[in-house]
Assembly symmetry: T
Homo-oligomer: 72 residues x 12
């Protein structure tokens, strides 16, 4: 059957290394409790500055997962 | 008392039939676990194509429900 | 002469049946007093939910009409 | 290999019947010359009015197709 | 360690008094079940009218909280 | 019957006191000629400055009212 | 007294000559029935093409006027 | 039959003279290979500065043309 | 002469009291060095939460001032 | 070296003549103190109306200039 | 002569490695048939998730190229 | 005291290496004259293409800094 339903949640991941690493950190954390993550969309990229340098990146994501076989 | 609080969640419903059916599928699925759904807003309408035809519609919704008498 | 001027108004139509029906309801109501309606643009699609089902759709439209031969 | 590249084009489909039919008309026309259409996104929904009724719907879409095995 | 992950939820608070009070009502309600709320962003400000006066304000917020030490 | 139709108008209210007061001023003025106002949405908040202080707030609103029993 | 209230209406002006001329045409037409126009904001600039040339410009405006001494 | 399909392309025209001239330059160039151009929409207006003066305007357009009798 | 030129700067004001107070704090601070501030526009309203309550509001503004008689 | 850094400022230019003239007025004024202006982007086009005619145009621009050899 | 005309196309590039690699993959593919690519703008950054990790990034770009010496 | 005021400026950083490097270049340059930079937000990511490859990335940022102890 093809009438799938998905839920999307908003997460903010951070990393001192890179934008990609901040994305992966958010997804990795979400994956601890949600086992059917499917896709993400970057909503916003920000970061903190210390001593004239990027200290860490903060990336806001929407992450979608299937509700088909989830309790919720 | 009128100081109600609502929560909104993002859902994606799909349907081979119509945009309205995709909306209803998402709301029907959410209603299995949330019993006080009140309104929805369409955020995005997309779909998949196979053999030069629309195979199914995918509609992203925000769905609002009351937190007044909910556990959360 | 080609220097036409149009006015646009914001309407919200509703329908228990479909998005198209909500659009037509808004346009039909506007047509009772404005006889030179030309085009519409969908601004927002929302709706109310009752008992886990779409109760009715609410579609916000901009509707344009010619001022060329109108009193206002 | 997973490094796929897609191209998206902007189309406007129209129909006297419904929004879904306008979408399908645009996709059907594009499919005459592009054989690897994959997905669409609705950008705008408009329409023309005649005699106080919707005469036809006009739906602007972005349609994506794979460039992997296309000449261009 | 600085690789914090946050989740954001969408809430609508209402109040007969003021925009600030509607914001606080939403946050106060969320705080009953989430103990690590950090920040909010106002997404939309609306309200209902009765007898030609504002009856109550409705403020849609995104509210962010830390997932670092949360069950979810 | 539930196929209600609403019209929305754009108003700008101003006040030396507060954003809420500017909203109420716009709605109060509209209510002199429109007796079925239902809801408002804040579109923009601006203001004028004199001598380094806010002189007055200017709030742009969309205000919706029912056309069901209105002349127009 | 400084608690002024303004109303804004959406107009589309057209001209074969220029964008400025299309703006003036819309404002001139509105001025036939509204005598207290104050400001405008350009919302959209479009136009029609014939034989590979711009045939006329169409500019959508929001036009604001004072309600202080208006009947409506 | 009224089920027309249109395609829209993104062009950037430039001109040392005016915004209108930049629009016409883009449309004139597109008309060399596309003979059924119908309408345009301005997406963005930019320009380059030299010696404290506008050197040329750059206008980004969406240009629509009919696919009804086109090869593509 | 009417060919005025204005500059706009982005400020973030904060306050424990209210949104209006956060706006005034930003404008008051800017007024220490800029003596010809004219208007402001609210771009974003956010805030910090502590112990389930709004701790302070943060309002992002664009503030405009005349360059006509300014050194810069 | 190619790692250039640019700064962008927001200006509002006005003119009784045309949109292009308002743009040039803003850039001309900025050029009195900034000698390395490179490009501009139109953000908003507005204007004031007097006696049913456009009195003057107001164009909001972002203007970019190089920081490579600037004091700031 | 400075009245250049550019065309922009929408591409989606993907990569398992990084956002930059997804951008380069899209541009490299487009360069096989278009030899005068000039600039790109990132429109959207998304990606797919497998087993709680980013499987690949998908970056939507607008890519501009000169039409001055192109067949089309 | 918590009534901090921040100013935000718009910068464009560029780099042949990566998006992160373009961000750092803009922040590093700003830090030469502003010693209290706090955060940044990515507004736009663009780049130039040469010979079918990304030549350099251009990232537009808003950068915020405290005015509390600054001369301006």
């Amino acid at each position: 059957m093809t009438d799938h339903v998905y839920k999307m949640i908003d997460l903010v991941g951070s990393s001192k290394e890179s934008i990609e690493d901040a994305i992966q950190n958010a997804i990795g954390r979400a994956g601890l409790t949600l086992h059917n993550l499917r896709w993400f969309e970057v909503v916003e990229t920000r970061g903190h500055i210390e001593n004239g340098k990027v200290d860490h990146y903060q990336v806001t994501l929407k992450v979608g997962f299937s509700l088909d076989d989830a309790a919720d």
